[in-house]
């Protein structure tokens, strides 16, 4: 277990945990601490009479703490891991105490049970009732999409010129209607439309891009049976039909050594979305793991560590251009810093066109690209490849100075996310090592 400060802090569910975690990376706060083969543990003196018992399964990166926090990992877990990453020598190697070994044993037992359950025969479901429920929902969604289409047509008939002056309820009513129509995916797409900054130059293009994407999803849904099977799945998920993760887990996934290229976090109405971008070292496949939780109540017991390498089986969601996946099982392995990826923007564009050809409404992708140099041109930063071709860096990219400092004007192989004409670097290969930004 050899993590950098950035890697540990990237696991934090929010800024306040990050800050408190840093404060707790202080030996004075810990009554006892130790490290074993697959575990790290410590007792942290909190405000109560008894110290909190914090434990980390380092083999499978899982956290447990006796504190009442509903965050995962909690500040104690982060503080303990941060302290270990900074001063591993201050942790004595020893046999875990009973409270740690019992937890580890329980985890192992649960894993076994899961494996047994996976092989157990499926329980009978009431297929008739299920079909009825599905039919009712499809009807609701059809009605909702028809109404949304009417709204869109009204909008284009009257023109979008006066949109900046519109009252927020103009969008809010339709967003609520989509929620009622059980089409949360469309509601989220409408939310993006409402959140556009209508006082920034060029809002018209941003608006039309999103409006057309919504229109395409509606059209796709209204002509679902005419679409290829995998694209049907994409349209259904864009509408907001959930895919059962249990069903996915029953499928055989793709086992590879995956590099966790980076993590991006966004928040909307207290709902935190964590995007983990992965790249398979042998299969060269790219993947996106999404995790959702209500702010302050993260229940993700096995957070992925940005910049780390895991041996894992990933199952992709069915899609014409599979990207989103779930981790079926994982194990942290020593980091592998070899670079593999595209040689330049032209190859990236070709890959993107291939996606666009099968999935017209696609979201941000992740690419690893060799030898990109940050350059300043026309009042903004660009990434220039070895053939002198350029792509702009997303406006407001927060780590531009770190990227420049690492580059020093030299090309760097990078992991970037984005699509079309906007990219955001999330990590670089610097001095033969992959570093997250």
């Amino acid at each position: 277990l050899n993590l950098s400060d950035e890697q540990v802090l990237a696991m934090a569910p929010d800024d306040s945990s990050r800050k408190s975690g840093k404060d707790l990376a202080n030996p004075a706060k810990w009554v006892s601490k130790g490290v074993g083969d697959n575990a790290l543990w410590g007792e942290c003196q909190g405000s109560g009479s008894k110290p909190y018992q914090t434990q980390i399964d380092t083999g499978n990166m899982a956290f447990k703490c006796s504190c009442p926090s509903r965050k995962f990992p909690c500040k104690h877990g982060l503080g303990l891991l941060l302290q270990y990453s900074r001063q591993p020598d201050s942790f004595a190697t020893q046999t875990p105490p009973a409270w740690v070994s019992e937890w580890l044993a329980k985890r192992a037992e649960r894993e076994e049970k899961k494996a047994v359950a996976a092989t157990a025969p499926e329980k009978q479901t009431d297929t008739t009732a299920q079909a009825k429920r599905q039919q009712a929902r499809q009807q609701k969604v059809s009605d909702g999409t028809a109404e949304l289409l009417r709204w869109i047509k009204d909008l284009v008939r009257n023109g979008i010129m006066d949109l900046p002056e519109k009252d927020p309820s103009f969008f809010e009513n339709m967003i609520r209607r989509m929620v009622d129509a059980q089409a949360p995916g469309l509601a989220a797409m409408m939310r993006e439309l409402a959140d556009i900054s209508y006082f920034h130059e060029g809002w018209q293009t941003v608006f039309m891009n999103q409006l057309i994407r919504i229109y395409l999803v509606i059209q796709g849904y209204q002509h679902l049976d005419q679409l290829p099977e995998t694209l049907q799945q994409d349209v259904r998920s864009l509408i907001g039909f959930a895919q059962s993760q249990d069903e996915l887990k029953e499928q055989t996934g793709i086992t590879d050594t995956w590099r966790i290229l980076g993590k991006q976090t966004t928040e909307e109405d207290r709902l935190v979305v964590e995007r983990y971008w992965l790249c398979g070292i042998h299969t060269k496949r790219r993947a996106l793991i999404l995790q959702f939780f209500v702010r302050g109540q993260s229940t993700i017991a096995n957070p992925l560590t940005p910049g780390a390498t895991i041996q894992a089986e990933l199952v992709y969601y069915p899609s014409a251009a599979p990207l989103r996946a779930i981790v079926k099982q994982q194990m942290t392995v020593p980091p592998d810093h070899r670079f593999s990826g595209f040689t330049g923007w032209e190859e990236v564009m070709a890959a993107q066109t291939a996606i666009s050809a099968v999935l017209p409404v696609y979201n941000d992708q992740v690419y690893t690209i060799a030898d990109l140099t940050p350059v300043w041109h026309q009042e903004q930063w660009w990434l220039q490849d070895s053939r002198q071709q350029l792509m702009p860096v997303k406006k407001g990219f927060p780590h531009i100075w770190k990227l420049l400092a690492l580059s020093g004007g030299h090309p760097l192989s990078m992991a970037v996310t984005g699509r079309e004409m906007q990219y955001e670097p999330i990590g670089v290969w610097h001095e033969h090592e992959y570093k997250i930004l």
């Binding site: 400060d5 840093k22 404060d23 990376a25 202080n26 030996p27 004075a28 706060k29 990453s85 900074r86 001063q87 869109i152 047509k153 284009v156 008939r157 009257n158 023109g159 979008i160 010129m161 018209q204 293009t205 039309m208 891009n209 057309i212 229109y215 395409l216 059209q219 330049g344 923007w345 032209e346 990236v348 564009m349 993107q352 066109t353 666009s356 050809a357 017209p360 140099t373 940050p374 350059v375 300043w376 041109h377 660009w382 220039q384 490849d385 002198q388 071709q389 350029l390 792509m391 100075w401 770190k402 420049l404 400092a405 020093g408 004007g409 030299h410 079309e420 004409m421 610097h430 570093k435």
Partner: protein, 487 residues
């Protein structure tokens, strides 16, 4: 682009006013547009949305990188020094988290003394810190290497960082903070050269830079600078003029100092029988008041004449009394202490000793005075300072803490324990910020006894405990510094 603009224009006006058309389309796009626009079953809005979707997809599928003639970014020069080891970086993180500039300075001192560099990934954070805190700039520039200087061309806030190995180079090409340091360095070995540098650059500098450069001449003030300094008294900048006057006041031999002395020497005379008479002559020249001497006393018990004389004595070098009375420093001190007429001016003599930073006079004074004058403490040798600070701590806790904080020497554990005990009684004054500022002086060994220090008032306990935890973090990081820079 024109195709997409056409879509945007139609969308802005609305299909009621402007229908979708195949203007500017050709090839497969025109075929698609003809099919869409020819479909009479679809309404105008449907036709527009379909055509917009086709063009959106066409654009999306055909995105191409930009090919443009871009001014290449200059490549950063290769570093000649190595980066600091990972252990040092692991210590840097907690140091940054404590927000203690003093601890950060200490980290940078270790780094530069070991002839090592900051790793590139840490530079933005460090350069930003140094931009906010001028005191960090010289060391950050030294530890930042070529990469920090290279970054400075893209971020004007960071252009204080320039790589220069010799003082001459730093003086010629460095940023202001680096030039000040170079001037200090050269003045320590060759004061005449330092003066020549200053004289050469003077007409080209702004008032702010002039002020910063002049401060170097205070450490210590030299008689050889007097003529030049006096020639500058016509400077327009108020800030520069104030520093000039302060400097001249610190220089025995300057016209100002001599003027003060003439008045003082005239006012205090030794009689043939050994008695001393004090009488301020009438002051006809107003220049002394223009230099900052107050005319009126603000204490009813002290006359205006005594007040003026008191101020003047505190600004004349104590060695002048040796010739004036024809006695040794020790005899002068006892004269001041013995004669009633001179006794009110004893604190002024102490002030003069500290103003001219005369350690010999300070030691002599301490040997002969039965009264302890706290202001003399900073003039004494460090070990004597610490011993006296411990001895008189209970009488002058705050002043001693102030002086001890200004002295860079590390406190003895005994003195530190006294300071911490006092700090625990005033946790709102001696708070985390105070600990941040004096961490350099706090010995690591105090960690062992910190837990024994508890405030007398129960309502201070919580606040003091937080300070103690913070101090624990500072000490923890400080203790790791020496070992972490070994490769």
């Amino acid at each position: 682009m024109e195709r997409w603009n056409n879509i945007i224009n139609t969308a802005l006006l609305g299909t009621a006013k402007k229908q979708a058309d195949n203007h500017g389309l050709n090839g497969p796009l025109q075929t698609a547009a003809d099919t869409i626009l020819g479909n009479t079953a679809a309404d105008k809005e449907e036709q527009f949305l379909q055509l917009a979707s086709v063009i959106y997809n066409y654009r999306q599928s055909g995105t191409q990188p930009v090919t443009a003639a871009v001014q290449p970014v200059p490549v950063c020069a290769a570093e000649t020094k190595a980066c600091c080891p990972p252990a040092a970086i692991r210590v840097l993180q907690p140091v940054l988290e404590t927000d203690s500039i003093q601890l950060l300075l200490l980290w940078l001192e270790y780094c530069t003394n070991a002839n090592l560099l900051l790793p590139p990934a840490q530079l933005p954070v460090m350069l930003d810190k140094a931009w906010r805190n001028k005191s960090l700039r010289v060391l950050t520039a030294a530890a930042g290497g070529h990469r920090a200087e290279w970054l400075g061309q893209f971020n004007p806030d960071w252009n204080f960082s320039r790589v220069a190995e010799t003082p001459e180079e730093r003086w010629e090409n460095g940023a202001t903070a680096q030039r000040v340091e170079a001037l200090k360095e050269i003045r320590a070995t060759d004061p005449a050269m330092a003066l020549t540098w200053l004289q050469q650059t003077w007409p080209k500098e702004s008032a702010t830079v002039k002020a910063e450069l002049l401060t170097v001449l205070e450490q210590p003030p030299l008689a050889t600078d007097i003529t030049w300094l006096e020639s500058l008294l016509s400077e327009k900048s108020k800030q520069v003029k104030e520093i000039l006057i302060r400097l001249l006041k610190k220089l025995p031999g300057s016209s100002l100092h001599e003027q003060y002395w003439q008045i003082v020497a005239g006012a205090i005379q030794a009689q043939e029988d050994g008695h001393v008479v004090v009488a301020l002559p009438e002051l006809k020249d107003d220049r002394i008041f223009q230099s900052g001497i107050e005319k009126l006393s603000n204490d009813k018990k002290i006359s205006d004449d005594t007040h003026i004389l008191y101020q003047l004595i505190s600004l004349v070098h104590p060695s002048r009394w040796e010739n004036h009375f024809g006695r040794t420093p020790a005899e002068v001190v006892s004269l001041f202490l013995r004669y009633e007429a001179l006794q009110p001016f004893v604190p002024a003599l102490v002030q003069a000793i500290t103003w001219f930073e005369d350690q010999q006079w300070a030691t002599t004074f301490m040997q002969h005075s039965e009264t302890f004058y706290i202001d003399i403490i900073p003039m004494l040798p460090t070990d004597q300072q610490q011993q006296l600070s411990e001895q008189f701590f209970d009488q002058y806790p705050e002043t001693i803490i102030k002086y001890a904080s200004n002295n860079p020497a590390e406190w003895s554990v005994a003195l530190c324990t006294k300071i911490m005990r006092y700090a625990a009684t005033q946790p709102y004054t001696y708070n985390q910020l105070f600990m941040n500022n004096v961490i350099r002086q706090i010995p690591v060994a105090i960690s062992a006894t910190l837990d024994n220090i508890v405030p007398a008032e129960s309502y201070h306990v919580g606040y003091w405990n937080n300070i103690k935890v913070h101090l624990g973090r500072l000490l923890q990081a400080k203790s790791q510094l020496p070992g972490s820079f070994h490769k």
